[in-house]
């Protein structure tokens, strides 16, 4: 072929090649993408496990969501979107749910993802041999024989799940649960690959052995240092995945994590406690804060082992009124946290925050009322109330506890001895009602108010203060089958404000430093279920 032709061929080839060399554009928004699509973020501690049926902490859940995919996912605002299941339906009684799986979902080794994988995984979750710490979640999903399988009364194979065919998965419930589908976004329900687990046993989650069906595969895991996951080309939606590699660095010290973020080693890093306001001014497009589905409170011990004074509702009210929540959120935490006068966060779906009485007063009015109530109860600066408050070891808990104890001391003459207890010990003594007043916090497992209010019902295993009110119990029970649960919830919050079994302090805000090049973060998702495959990095 002659030289001209060769020249054109060369030109054509180099044009084709350079279209790869030139930065790609995001298919939907048209933004120019960065050449390096690696997302590096921060963990404060090593996660507990990457086995979906065993993972129990938030860090592990983040990793599991990238490695595996369940029936349904959440979009950037927390709404349900199809995952492995293309569509789902429920019967009228809302106690049988059927999921239709897509036919092109694959495991990272090429095997197809079928309904049998889900049956295997769900049975594994309730199997006593697996000893999953989250098996109770399967129980509150009210699956038939769930509880019985967990306690070993029946075999896991008796669990009310079945594969009608390779691509249809059906679940039978013992109660009517309108929000059941939302619970399948939770990691414990993700499918696992039976052959791999049987082959490798407890080593199956190691890089090299692990087989997963999500957008990424685990390639590296060094304990207490890093976790690396890379693109899974077998993932059914791999074409839409832009981020190639996700790296997690474990940095226990928040101040150090922040330093390394500034040095460019992290795309997402922590905001050191109390620094947010300044950082927001200095780095306005990097410091981020948004509401989250968690609360923070102090619980009175109302059982017999608690102190007499706390059984007096006036004392409880006074102590709650005397706390200036704005000082805590605006001066100490400074990161957009919301002062709380109710137990359930306002960000919860389907929940309207009732304007309970004491939230409408000014702080000055609250302080005056507090003094009045304390005196009526017989305490004051000359007869001080004294007790011990416990919290678990952490800088911010310490600060908040210190501030609270000082507020009580200066306004009501209370002598509150602070006791900082290490985490495990703290859980142990709080769980045994071996305390007077203790810190507590709760993050919702699903986006509905019952995940919070269940804690304050009499039968709840997490009701460490042993608060018991029959009206609340009845309202909660009724809410399960009611079509308008939110009015029940509002009533319950009013009862709580009147009885004050806990002192709600604030509702969480998610706070971190984020590289402005990283796009796609789901700020609207209060459960903060984020998926790396939805992210992308734009060019500088």
């Amino acid at each position: 072929m002659n030289k001209t032709f060769q020249f054109f061929i060369a030109l054509l080839i180099s044009a084709l090649l350079s279209s790869f060399v030139y930065a790609k554009k995001h298919p939907v928004t048209g933004e120019e993408l960065a050449a390096d699509q690696t997302f590096t973020y921060w963990h404060g501690d090593e996660h507990s496990s990457q086995d979906p049926q065993i993972v129990e902490d938030t860090y592990g859940a983040n990793i599991v969501r990238d490695l595996f995919e369940g029936l349904l996912n959440q979009d950037a605002d927390g709404n349900l979107v199809p995952g492995v299941a293309e569509s789902w339906s429920a019967n009228d009684a809302k106690d049988v749910y059927t999921f239709n799986l897509r036919k092109n979902a694959k495991w990272s080794n090429g095997d197809p993802v079928t309904a049998h994988d889900f049956v295997y995984a769900w049975q594994r979750a309730v199997d006593p041999a697996t000893a999953s710490p989250y098996s109770w979640f399967m129980d509150i999903m009210s699956i038939k024989n769930g509880g019985a399988a967990i306690s070993g009364d029946v075999l896991p194979s008796e669990l009310g799940v079945k594969a009608l065919d390779d691509y249809t998965f059906q679940v039978e419930l013992t109660a009517s649960l309108p929000y059941f589908a939302a619970m399948t976004t939770h990691g414990t329900t993700f499918p696992t690959h039976q052959a791999t687990i049987e082959k490798y046993g407890s080593d199956w989650t190691k890089p090299g052995n692990i087989v997963s069906n999500g957008a990424y595969v685990l390639t590296e895991h060094v304990l207490n240092e890093r976790v690396v996951r890379e693109r899974n080309s077998e993932y059914w939606n791999n074409a839409d995945t832009i981020i190639e590699k996700v790296v997690t660095l474990v940095i226990p010290d928040e101040n150090l994590g922040y330093l390394r973020y500034l040095a460019g080693e992290l795309d997402q890093g922590p905001v050191p406690p109390g620094q947010f306001k300044k950082l927001k001014v200095k780095y306005p497009d990097q410091a981020t804060s948004f509401p989250r589905l968690c609360n923070y409170y102090y619980t009175f011990n109302l059982s017999d082992s608690g102190i007499e004074a706390f059984r007096d509702v006036r004392v409880r009210h006074a102590m709650s009124y005397a706390i200036d929540r704005n000082v805590i959120t605006d001066d100490i935490l400074q990161a957009g946290q919301i002062p709380a006068y109710t137990f359930t966060p306002g960000a919860t779906a389907g929940f309207d925050v009732p304007k309970v009485a004491f939230s409408k007063m000014t702080q000055v009015e609250r302080d005056a009322k507090a003094v009045e109530l304390m005196e009526a109860a017989g305490y004051g600066k000359d007869n001080p109330l004294s007790f011990t408050m416990i919290y678990n070891t952490s800088e911010s808990h310490k600060k908040i506890a210190t501030v609270m104890s000082q507020m009580w001391k200066q306004k009501l003459g209370i002598i509150a001895t602070m006791e900082n207890v290490e985490w495990k010990t703290f859980l142990d003594i709080r769980g045994k009602q071996d305390f007077e007043i203790a810190r507590g916090a709760w993050c919702g497992d699903y986006n509905e108010a019952s995940t919070f209010l269940d804690l304050l019902t009499t039968p709840s295993g997490y009701n460490d203060g042993k608060y018991s009110n029959a009206a609340v119990d009845k309202l909660m029970n009724d809410a399960k089958t009611s079509s308008d649960a939110s009015s029940n919830y509002t009533t319950i919050e009013r009862i709580l404000a009147a009885e004050m079994p806990v002192i709600p302090l604030y509702h969480y805000a998610g706070v971190f430093m984020l590289n402005p090049q990283l796009k796609g973060w789901p700020y609207g998702n209060v459960e903060q279920n984020w998926y790396s495959r939805n992210f992308y990095k734009v060019a500088e």
Binding site: N255, L259, D331, T402
Partner: protein, 309 residues
């Protein structure tokens, strides 16, 4: 040769007028050498100053160590600055509490931990080592084997376990730290005892039938005091460092009490946020005290054992 009676009388009259020549004891020798050592004397002065500060400092304090100054809370780096007008001589900590008061309190606790820990080590270690060294033979073997075994145990791990197990209290801290430190002292004391044992005055005491225990207490131990004093002063900084490490891990003294270790690790964390005084003041006290203890110990050693100078 004195021949004449009158010379003898003159002599005897003169003699009775002479004062007794005062002997200079070894302790006095040591004291003189010590005070010639400028660094050691300076250390003594500094330490006394710090001690004085910890007792009388609170009189000057305008705030208590736990009181929060609400007005500075929103913006510590500008409002919490050290100044005389606000009464925060050393500035405030992250929560708006007066750093001056907290440093005083931290000084008290840290010094107490250091001194008490060293005292426990001295008391237990000296007795143990002296007994082992004096009796020798099988008893010595067994006792020293025990020390060897205990020394092999990674003490920090045991301390952490103890603190986790019994919860955090000052008593636990003392017990834990004291338990670790007597081992070294025991070894050193035993070595010294072995050499003192050979001396003639001990032999004499044995020959005259003095009881074993009395010999140990009245003859051996006083001769050990030099070495013991030196090592004790060198132990104190070690105790304070151990305590600061424990506080760093979050296992140290309870709020609102504090110690140098806790203050320093808090200050180190906020270094970058424009509140350098939170690190500098406690660090200053810490460093100065430790320096002083070191120089004091060195000075004592030089004073008591001139060969090493």
């Amino acid at each position: 040769m004195i021949m004449f009676k009158k010379d003898i009388e003159k002599l005897s009259k003169n003699l009775s007028n002479y004062e007794e020549i005062k002997g200079r004891s070894l302790w006095e020798d040591a004291r003189i050498r010590f005070f010639k050592n400028k660094a050691a004397v300076a250390s003594l002065i500094l330490l006394s100053a710090i001690l004085f500060f910890s007792f009388f400092g609170p009189l000057l304090a305008q705030w208590t160590n736990e009181e929060i100054d609400w007005s500075v809370l929103g913006d510590i780096s500008t409002l919490g600055y050290p100044s005389f007008e606000s009464g925060h001589y050393f500035g405030t900590d992250e929560l708006g509490r007066d750093l001056y008061a907290r440093v005083i309190q931290g000084t008290k606790i840290s010094l107490m931990v250091g001194v008490v820990g060293a005292l426990i080590a001295v008391f237990v270690g000296t007795l143990y080592g002296a007994v082992a060294g004096y009796f020798g033979g099988r008893l010595d073997s067994i006792m020293m084997r025990l020390v060897d075994i205990l020394m092999s145990i990674p003490y920090m791990f045991v301390l952490i376990l103890l603190l986790v197990m019994f919860g955090r209290s000052i008593i636990m801290l003392f017990v834990g730290i004291g338990l670790i430190s007597w081992l070294d002292m025991a070894r050193i004391v035993r070595g010294q005892t072995l050499s003192i044992k050979q001396k003639e005055f001990v032999e004499a005491a044995v020959a005259t039938g003095v009881g074993n225990f009395t010999i140990i207490v009245r003859h051996i131990i006083p001769n050990l005091l030099g070495v013991v004093a030196v090592y004790a002063t060198l132990l104190v900084p070690g105790m304070i460092l151990t305590e600061s490490f424990i506080s760093f891990l979050g296992l140290g003294v309870q709020e609102p009490n504090t110690s140098w270790g806790a203050l320093i690790s808090e200050g180190a964390g906020t270094m970058r946020y424009g509140t350098l005084w939170q690190l500098l003041f406690p660090l200053l006290f810490f460093v100065v005290s430790l320096f002083s203890f070191f120089f004091l110990g060195d000075g004592l050693r030089d004073a008591l054992d001139p060969k090493d100078r």
